[in-house]
């Protein structure tokens, strides 16, 4: 466990070094959030009665999504890992007396955490200061805040576990590009990255909510905003736990299988 923790620490402090990149990221995210809100506002003004959640909940969904983009964005996948698999550097990693799965897991987790920590506070702060309907509202209750934090942690873990599945699958292909694009765009769409899940037609939404993708950003952002609470939230947390276990079990066994079969082609 200690060695994984040190991997985590290493990556974490490395991620914190990129401050200019973070500043650029913050401006971009802020702009993105503002535009997104304007789109939803235009729809809201056209037909407020068709809106599936309150406008305030939508706004806070968008701001949180932008602030914690590094947690949930599937395209922030680690190219280093793909490169290692492609160019054979994986051989060095296999030499180490530690499990690849756990090492990569802690590393991805640290990367996402450090990135988000650098970026989230300025965005949250500015978003909270914006005037009423366009700003991020404060937590409705202490309990809700705690549950949002818990589900956010679970959602982050599910996202990382899913990315691990993609890395493991890369062992079996020659070019990871196709797989990567296919999976990241699927995750982006099905997890509510393009439009929040409640905006989908009800029947499709019901299916989507059972998929692992809905256990990523969908749950924490909606619980904080207020469009999910009570029994629905309890179910969602259970589902998050189930998917987390399934994804980790699947990913690590796939990874173990791949480790046995991998052949390094010289170099």
């Amino acid at each position: 466990m200690r060695k994984y923790l040190s991997f985590f620490r290493l990556r974490f402090s490395m991620g914190l070094q990129y401050r200019t990149a973070a500043l650029a990221g913050i401006t971009t995210q802020f702009f993105w959030g503002a535009m997104e809100i304007m789109v939803f506002k235009a729809f809201y003004e056209a037909e407020p009665e068709s809106f599936p959640m309150t406008f305030e909940a939508t706004v806070s969904y968008i701001w949180l999504q932008q602030a914690f983009l590094a947690f949930f964005a599937a395209w922030m996948i680690e190219n280093e890992i793909f490169d290692a698999i492609m160019d054979g550097n994986i051989a060095y990693e296999l030499c180490r007396p530690i499990g690849i799965y756990h090492m990569w897991f802690s590393r991805s987790l640290a990367n996402r955490l450090s990135r988000a920590l650098l970026r989230c506070f300025p965005i949250l702060l500015i978003a909270a200061m914006l005037p009423a309907p366009y700003g991020l509202h404060g937590p409705q209750s202490m309990l809700r805040l705690l549950v949002s934090l818990l589900t956010m942690a679970l959602g982050l873990l599910v996202t990382v576990a899913f990315c691990m599945l993609i890395y493991s699958l890369t062992f079996f292909t020659v070019s990871p590009k196709g797989l990567q694009i296919l999976f990241t765009s699927a995750v982006e769409f099905l997890s509510g990255g393009v439009i929040p899940l409640p905006f989908f037609p009800e029947r499709i939404q019901r299916i989507m909510e059972l998929l692992p993708f809905a256990s990523m950003q969908n749950v924490p952002l909606r619980i904080y905003g207020g469009s999910m609470w009570g029994r629905e939230a309890v179910n969602a947390v259970c589902l998050q736990c189930i998917w987390l276990v399934v994804l980790i079990a699947g990913g690590s066994s796939l990874c173990r299988y791949a480790e046995k079969k991998v052949t390094i082609q010289g170099g």
Partner: protein, 270 residues
Amino acid sequence: MIRRRGAACRNSLRLYKHYISINVRSMMQYKASFLLTAMGQFLVSFNVFLGIFFMFQRFSRVKDFSYSEVLLCFSIMLLEFALAEMWARGFDSFSGMVRSGSFDRVLVRPRSEILQVLGSKFELTRIGRMLQAIVMFIYGIIQCDISWTFARICTVLFMLVGGACLFTGLFMVYAALCFFTLEGLEFMNVLTDGAREYGKYPIGIYGKRILQLTTFVIPYALVQYYPLLYLLGKRSSPVYIFLPLGAGLFLIPCYLLWRVGVRHYKSSGS
């Protein structure tokens, strides 16, 4: 004098064609990778389309625009962007050129730098994105029942030309800034990718401020919103037909900035 100019121009064009053919041939060495990347381009913008599709399952219109009208708008914007990206991608990877010092090589050749930078990359993979734009465009045209006149066809063509110019200009600014910062500014993505992403809806829906900003500062609205109004028959003044060409003027300040950048260029060595 004029004849010599003409000959030089034709010569440059031939050189550019040659650049393209080199690029395409080298890309075709990796056919699978080409197809996958093109497919990826398709998938990424397909997500955006699905977003619009499902939004309109719930809402029937946004401001004054219906689903098919939004699709038409999005498809034209996407086409403009894909066109510019296809041929001006060299500017996008320009930071690498400055940092590695290979811009020195460009400068010593007796040809225009812009031509050489443009020729350094030709992204045929953007075909994936274009394909989708064309499908949506056709669907939008069928559903919108626009009565096609010569003026309207011209409007679409002008939109494509003006839009491609506008995005090319933005890519050029992005590259010109590399002369000063040595690396690409991520912030510029807001102006290119952001415009593509949020240009999917007619700019008018974002309110008056944004409309003013995109008319006078960076003229997105000239290639998107105003001609679209004419196309859909919401406005009838013929001025709207030629507005997209006005966006071509945006290339002038971009070019000047580029010139300043080239003057300012100091080789980074190596």
